[in-house]
């Protein structure tokens, strides 16, 4: 009865001279190393790899490689669940520290505005042109249809968007809306209302729905263009064309461009699905997404600026010429940024 557990009739090859299991010795010899790795991993997760001392970062990588070796061996020689679970967890966590550290965040916003966004816009100029074409052709259609028959106006224009500006309204009323010196909303409230108005929703949808083979994005933009054309035609019909143009210019140049750009992004996504080229559809979508997301972000920034213009500036400026100057001036600024920013210095 006084035998050790090891000598149970099969030679005891799994035991060393101390009478301990091979896998237990394996663990005992390396446990200190794993504990070190555990500490380093915690430190790396807390501080970030690039803020660790050189020696610690070097040790982390070395310890991690030893731990993966230990894991590979342990899977072969050990049946100790505790050891296997621990090593699996430790190496996985250390892997994330070593191979998937945090990317540097410095200058992220600046880089977006000075380089990556305008570059992405220039790369996808074709899709943006498609966006503008959709809107422009829609506007032309709406304009011509209105002059063909006024009844079309009610077909295209949602009642809440028209806000009483229908062919039945008097010219005086139309003028009063354009030169409204005493609006019921101003400042922050108006800003918020305008931001969440019709056009922002349209911009979000034309971008998001572009994935469905482009069609929803193109149709929505075209439809938006039609209502734009129709309302312009109504005012031109009453001899208020230039005044309406000024009223619309203040924010519209920025806002409608944002919709066209969002449409361009959506069409880009849809085109990747329709024509994936040499890639699988998912890979093509991922590639297209790199630029399309930047277009969406640019459109979002433009919508914010448009809401600022609409909420704070439009009611302040009642002069038609100034309205044109502001609207198209801002538009020119956008264009300059798009064309010139982020070019490599010669």
């Amino acid at each position: 009865m006084d035998q050790t557990v090891g000598t149970t009739g099969f030679g005891g090859a799994g035991f060393g001279s101390t009478g301990v299991l091979r896998s237990a010795r394996f663990r005992a010899e390396r446990e200190a190393d794993w504990r070190t790795l555990e500490k380093l991993v915690t430190e790396a997760e807390r501080k970030g790899l690039h803020r660790m001392e050189f020696a610690a970062a070097r040790d982390l990588a070395a310890c991690y490689r030893r731990a993966t070796t230990s894991l590979a061996i342990a899977r072969e020689i050990s049946l100790d669940r505790a050891l296997l679970d621990y090593l699996e967890a430790l190496t996985a966590r250390a892997y994330l520290c070593v191979y998937a550290p945090q990317e540097r965040l410095g200058g992220l916003v600046r880089r977006f505005f000075t380089a990556s966004a305008p570059q992405a816009m220039r790369r996808s100029w074709f899709f943006i042109v498609i966006g503008f074409l959709c809107m422009g052709l829609g506007a032309l259609t709406g304009y011509l249809l209105y002059f063909e028959n006024e009844a079309w106006y009610f077909v295209f224009m949602p009642a809440e968007l028209a806000g009483g500006r229908t062919p039945e309204a008097t010219t005086g009323y139309l003028r009063s809306v354009i030169y409204d010196t005493n609006p019921d909303q101003s400042g922050l409230g108006a800003f918020a209302t305008f931001l969440f108005s019709h056009n922002t929703r349209i911009a979000i949808f034309v971008f998001g729905l572009g994935v469905f083979l482009c069609a929803p994005a193109i149709i929505l933009t075209f439809y938006n263009g039609i209502s734009l054309g129709a309302i312009m035609a109504l005012h031109v019909d009453r001899g208020l064309g230039w005044d309406m143009g000024g009223w619309l210019s203040v924010h519209g140049v920025t806002e409608l461009s944002a919709i066209c750009i969002a449409c361009g992004g959506g069409v880009q996504l849809g085109a990747a699905i329709l024509f994936p080229g040499a890639f699988s559809r998912r890979a093509a979508l991922q590639r297209a997404g790199r630029d399309a997301v930047k277009l969406a972000l640019v459109a979002a920034v433009m919508l914010l600026v448009a809401a600022l213009l609409e909420g704070f500036l439009r009611q302040l400026v009642q002069d038609m010429t100034t309205r044109y100057a502001i609207g198209w001036g801002v538009g020119a600024l956008w264009l300059t940024w798009l064309l010139l920013a982020g070019r490599a210095r010669a």
Binding site: V5, E38, T68, D80, A82, A92, Y95, Q185, A192, T193
Partner: protein, 309 residues
């Protein structure tokens, strides 16, 4: 990023488990994919956090007299929108793939290929979250019975957004697929003590349990590790009733083992833990040695499986 289309035709069972990730060292690592439930919970925590922030901002604006009852709703919606989107993007950037909710539930976004999260991926997956869930969600709230078609559409859209992860092996939603990311459980390394490193188990009288080789041929790794789990229960603190229940389970297990391996001597109740520990040590030594010789025994059916082959 690009995947040769030939790979697609591989049969399903040939694919590696979604939980494994091949490290550059050539050792497959385990990063368990997080399920829908835990991700939804993290999401709810995040929504609660952002919503609380919005309420605070609204109260502040109200105190500054910047809101009127007419604009309250619009400003509130704007604040939620303007706080929510940056919140997700900034937290996931700063904490490398973890929002506050994800930190609490110990899950993390990683690149699908196991590399660092790019800014692009973080922005894309969170913008898509807006398009997938939040926008149709708010639309669903604001719409009424007058527009059943739109309500149905946005409802169907949300249902689709939740169904897609169910059919993806990595539980990726649309945004994850586009950004090339998926969400994992952050593994927690806890090293429990080695059961065989303790002093050799002895009977109350000081004797030792001896097992013969043929007695150790019955079980495989599964049974061994189940026994390990039972033995580790003793390391925990527990109430008397639970402890008694545990002792009863041990007695039953012990009887089963004794009958199966043909261990003739009776074991006194006081010796039950010692017997099981001794059996665990002997069984593990035996199985590990068989494994070294290329004879992996997954469970007690190993003999049958071996004969079939």
């Amino acid at each position: 990023m690009s995947r040769p289309s030939l790979k697609r035709s591989r049969r399903r069972k040939d694919r590696p488990s979604p939980d494994t990730l091949m490290s550059p060292e050539g050792v497959p690592l385990t990063l368990r994919v997080a399920g829908i439930g835990v991700r939804l919970s993290a999401q709810i925590i995040d929504v609660v956090i952002t919503f609380t922030a919005v309420v605070c901002v609204m109260i502040l604006l109200g105190l500054l007299n910047l809101t009127t009852p007419q604009t309250l709703y619009a400003i509130g919606a704007m604040a939620f929108f303007l706080i929510r989107i940056p919140y997700y993007i900034v937290t996931e950037l700063v904490w490398n793939g973890q929002t506050l909710g994800k930190r609490m539930l110990k899950i993390k976004v990683i690149g699908h290929d196991g590399r660092s999260l790019t800014t692009h991926a973080v922005v894309l997956r969170n913008l898509m979250k807006e398009a997938e869930v939040f926008l149709p969600g708010t639309l669903l709230f604001t719409l009424n019975a007058a527009t059943p078609l739109l309500s149905l559409l946005s409802f169907g859209w949300i249902v689709m957004a939740f169904l897609i992860p169910l059919f993806s092996p990595h539980r990726q939603r649309l945004g994850d697929m586009l950004a090339g990311t998926h969400v994992i459980h952050l593994p927690v390394p806890v090293l429990l003590k080695d059961l065989v490193r303790e002093a050799p188990a002895k009977t109350a009288a000081g004797g030792k349990f001896v097992f013969l080789a043929h007695q150790l041929d019955h079980y495989g790794a599964f049974e061994l590790q189940t026994l390990e789990g039972i033995l580790r229960v003793e390391e925990r603190q527990m109430a008397t009733a639970t402890y008694n229940h545990h002792r009863k389970t041990m007695a039953e297990i012990l009887e089963k083992i004794r009958r199966k391996i043909g261990y003739a001597d009776p074991v006194r109740p006081a010796d039950h833990p010692a017997f099981l520990k001794a059996f665990y040590a002997a069984q593990r030594a035996h199985l590990e040695q068989r494994q070294l010789f290329g004879d992996r025994r997954a469970d007690k059916h190993h003999a049958v499986a071996g004969n079939k082959r």
